[in-house]
């Protein structure tokens, strides 16, 4: 499986990526790119969203060229099928984020009940803030009791008894009225997902417009529900992120240290691993085994969670997960859930790496399953770190390749609170900078990696273009890691920004691209946007903001994009979503939503052109505001 140099070049813009892609090929590994190539050509019906497997009268397909069948067996036409498929993608994405949130709420309750040794309330301030938002009385309650009460109130958010989610209160008044008018105010997190699965069952909602509207509601139940709970409770349990310096790329894996890599999305497990890795006894053991310490490194969003709060270095983003294994340096990889390629277990068998799955709901081939619960987390984490240390000696020298050079420096930890504090305690200076034009606008560049797009190229090209035009970029998830690898996340990167933004960055000592967390943390961006809108007494959609997901792949990204647009943020997608089989739906999503929500979607695979679309948008919004 030898690779041509031009293949490697075409696959990624990252240097470490290229080196280890070749290494992986030499080691006989099959990577995500190989599998993508083997899948070519991919099914055009599915690419267009025109295939339906919802029931066993099917599967059905609609001929996009009009000659073949125009209806499925049940009679659903292209519009209905595309809408149903999109609806189910949203439901899956929303369910993923929300289930992640629920797991954290469970830990919060256990902490309050004293059944989660090792866990605690790191941010009492946030706990109290949430309590007041949720209408939980703090009077005379201990922190533990309050934690239980807040957890209970949050559990209610998942249910079916509400007219609106509690956190809808954070949304500007104007926006809330828009949602009410369209009937898309989210009511219960699980309810909306469950209702979507119901509506998309054969013979339920067959009006593509109302299906899509419910899709927006389902997405809002994620953005202002599930994801938001995940972020806020993580902050309560593990602390509100503060600016922190760290490093990124495969070179953060150290040949002379025990390397434990944390992959997935939920910080519950990895926070315990982090604690265990600080244990002097285990550090001693590591030295005993000839290692100079225990090195924790992150992949994907579990990595981002720990980076944001603990400053651990990042080995890479989604497409780097297999290549990280090919260093031969990882003594243990712990995974929780989401975006963990099922291939990883088998890939790791080529090396000494121990693969451990930790979640009761996520098991993988060729991985050891060591289930974490709040009750056993601390002890199990210690056991696992010990085992990782013991595995250090089993490295296979012939298969080890130490990444040459040094890692790239980065800054992370820009929670809303951290940004406000960096601004001197209020959003005022940011508003002023926007008003003055020093900062033209702000864009959230988020999302995954996708082998359909040259690795990191979409993110880095788009973001570079934006900051050059004095647009502040905030990011999360795999996009954030891509930017960090490209060196855009150090204060010195201000030099790459346009003059206005450069000046602001220099003045505040911040990079032009601010890392706001993992992909559930996208809600931080909307929190900030809502705060700005409040401050200006206007709606989110009136602000010079936009969002972009240049390399998205997952169903979660679909949910995010939908709650972004529903929240009033113009969103540009790099990978075409499977909607192009219905011109009605394309028109609705890319044009008609503008009139309903003040925001819409655009699809633009070329990141440079995507940047132009965004800049044009920002200019228009600024003009509308009279700036």
């Amino acid at each position: 499986m030898l690779l041509k140099r031009e293949d490697v070049q075409a696959r990624t813009i990252t240097e470490d990526g290229r080196i280890f892609m070749e290494k992986a090929a030499r080691d006989g590994l099959e990577t995500v790119w190989d599998r993508y190539r083997a899948q070519q050509p991919q099914c055009g019906f599915c690419e267009l969203g025109l295939s339906c497997r919802n029931c066993s009268m099917g599967p059905c397909r609609i001929d996009p060229f009009g000659e073949g069948p125009q209806r499925g067996v049940c009679g659903a036409d292209a519009d209905i099928i595309v809408a149903r498929n999109l609806g189910r993608m949203i439901a899956a994405g929303s369910a993923s984020h929300s289930d992640h949130g629920r797991d954290l709420v469970e830990v919060l309750r256990k902490v309050g009940e004293g059944k989660a040794p090792g866990y605690g309330i790191r941010s009492e301030e946030k706990l109290r803030k949430l309590a007041s938002e949720l209408g939980v009385s703090e009077d005379g309650q201990s922190v533990e009791a309050l934690a239980v009460a807040v957890a209970e109130a949050l559990e209610e958010e998942f249910g079916t008894r509400k007219k609106a989610l509690a956190f809808v209160g954070r949304v500007p008044e104007k926006r809330r009225r828009i949602w009410e008018k369209l009937g898309i105010t989210p009511r219960g997190i699980d309810r909306e997902t469950s209702e979507m699965m119901h509506r998309t069952h054969m013979g339920v909602d067959n009006d593509w417009k109302s299906l899509l509207l419910h899709g927006l509601r389902n997405a809002l139940s994620d953005g202002w529900g599930g994801s938001l709970i995940a972020t806020e409770v993580s902050d309560i349990l593990f602390g509100i992120p503060q600016p922190v310096a760290s490093e990124v790329n495969l070179r953060v894996l150290k040949e002379d240290q025990v390397n434990i890599v944390l992959h997935g999305h939920n910080p519950i497990v990895s926070e315990m691993i982090f604690q265990a890795a600080q244990d002097p006894e285990l550090m001693g053991l590591a030295e005993e085994k000839g290692a100079r310490g225990i090195n924790l490194a992150g992949l994907c969003c579990t990595g981002n969670e720990l980076l944001m709060r603990r400053g651990i270095p990042m080995a890479g983003n989604h497409l780097m997960t297999e290549l990280a294994l090919s260093t031969g340096l990882i003594d243990m990889m712990l995974v929780d859930y989401q975006c963990i390629m099922p291939a990883l277990g088998e890939t790791a068998r080529c090396y000494h790496t121990r693969m451990v799955s930790t979640s009761d709901k996520a098991k993988y081939p060729f991985m050891e399953h060591r289930e974490f619960h709040p009750e056993n987390a601390r002890d199990l984490a210690r056991d696992l770190v010990r085992e990782a240390v013991e595995n250090f000696v089993r490295r296979i020298p012939a298969k080890v390749l130490s990444p040459p050079g040094a890692p790239v420096k980065m800054m992370a930890g820009f929670s809303v609170e951290a940004i406000v504090s960096a601004l001197g305690g209020s959003a005022g200076p940011l508003i002023d900078a926007i008003k003055s034009g020093a900062i033209q606008g702000a864009v959230g560049v988020v999302g995954c990696n996708n082998p359909k797009i040259r690795h990191d190229y979409g993110h880095v090209t788009l973001t570079t273009r934006l900051i050059e035009n004095d647009v502040l970029v905030v990011d999360t998830g795999c996009a954030a890691v891509a930017h960090a690898k490209a060196g855009l996340k150090v204060p010195e990167a201000a030099e790459k920004a346009g003059p206005g933004l450069r000046q602001v960055c220099r003045a505040l000592g911040i990079p032009p691209v601010l890392h706001m967390g993992s992909c559930v943390d996208n809600v931080r961006i909307f929190d900030l946007a809502a705060a700005l809108a409040h401050a200006l007494g206007t709606d989110i959609s009136d602000l010079p903001l936009a969002a972009a997901a240049p390399e998205w792949y997952s169903e979660k990204a679909v949910s995010i994009a939908c709650y972004a647009v529903a929240s009033g943020v113009y969103t540009v997608l790099g990978t075409p979503p499977p909607i192009f089989g219905s011109q009605n739906i394309v028109k609705l999503l890319t044009e008609d939503l503008e009139g309903l929500l003040g925001a819409s979607f655009a699809v633009e695979p070329d990141p440079a052109r995507a940047a132009d679309l965004i800049l044009e948008r920002i200019r228009a919004k600024r003009a509308a505001l009279g700036l």
Binding site: P41, C43, G44, F45, L48, R61, F65, E67, P576, Q583
Partner: protein, 164 residues
């Protein structure tokens, strides 16, 4: 030119070949744009449920072709060099005789280039779009077909437990 042969037993009816054929014969050459073209680009390969199994059918480029014989203007003619039944739109009067004559149903009336749509084995392409698009390698070029058949035959022989 190498013929396109069909390993019928492998077809799963995904219709990828049909889509690829249309895209290859569209103005833009790209799926997402091709679906917007009007008139819609036509296909020249047909996946049909024949005798309970899905199978792709395409022009067999007959040597003594009924469509050629039915053509009053020689718009269809057997091309000696390529071995294809070639269609010359400029000569076509659109009488549909070939559509009726083809016993396999491989010619359809069309409105884009000329008045019929018939497999041209993807002019200017090394490998026809359908062959490239086929995920199960049901559609293969003649040499590959024979090569694969031989390999299959040998594998079956070996697996039969009676190696040579």
């Amino acid at each position: 030119m190498e013929r396109i042969l069909v390993r019928w037993e492998r077809c799963v009816g995904c219709r990828s070949c049909e889509l690829a054929c249309r895209v290859a014969h569209s103005a833009s050459g790209d799926l997402f744009s091709a679906v917007l073209e009007r008139p819609a680009p036509s296909r020249r390969i047909y996946v049909e449920q024949a005798d309970k199994t899905p199978s792709p059918f395409l022009c067999r480029q007959c040597e003594d072709a009924p469509c050629v014989r039915s053509c009053p203007t020689r718009a269809l003619a057997h091309d000696e060099t390529t071995g294809l039944v070639a269609y010359e739109p400029a000569r076509c009067i659109g009488c549909h005789g070939c559509v009726m004559a083809c016993p396999f149903g491989m010619i359809q009336p069309d409105v884009r280039e000329g008045f019929i749509a018939k497999c041209d084995r993807c002019k200017g392409r090394d490998r026809p779009a359908c062959v490239e698009a086929c995920p199960t390698h049901t559609l293969v070029l003649e040499k590959d077909f024979l090569d694969l058949r031989r390999k299959e035959a040998v594998r079956n022989l070996v697996q039969s437990g009676n190696p040579v």
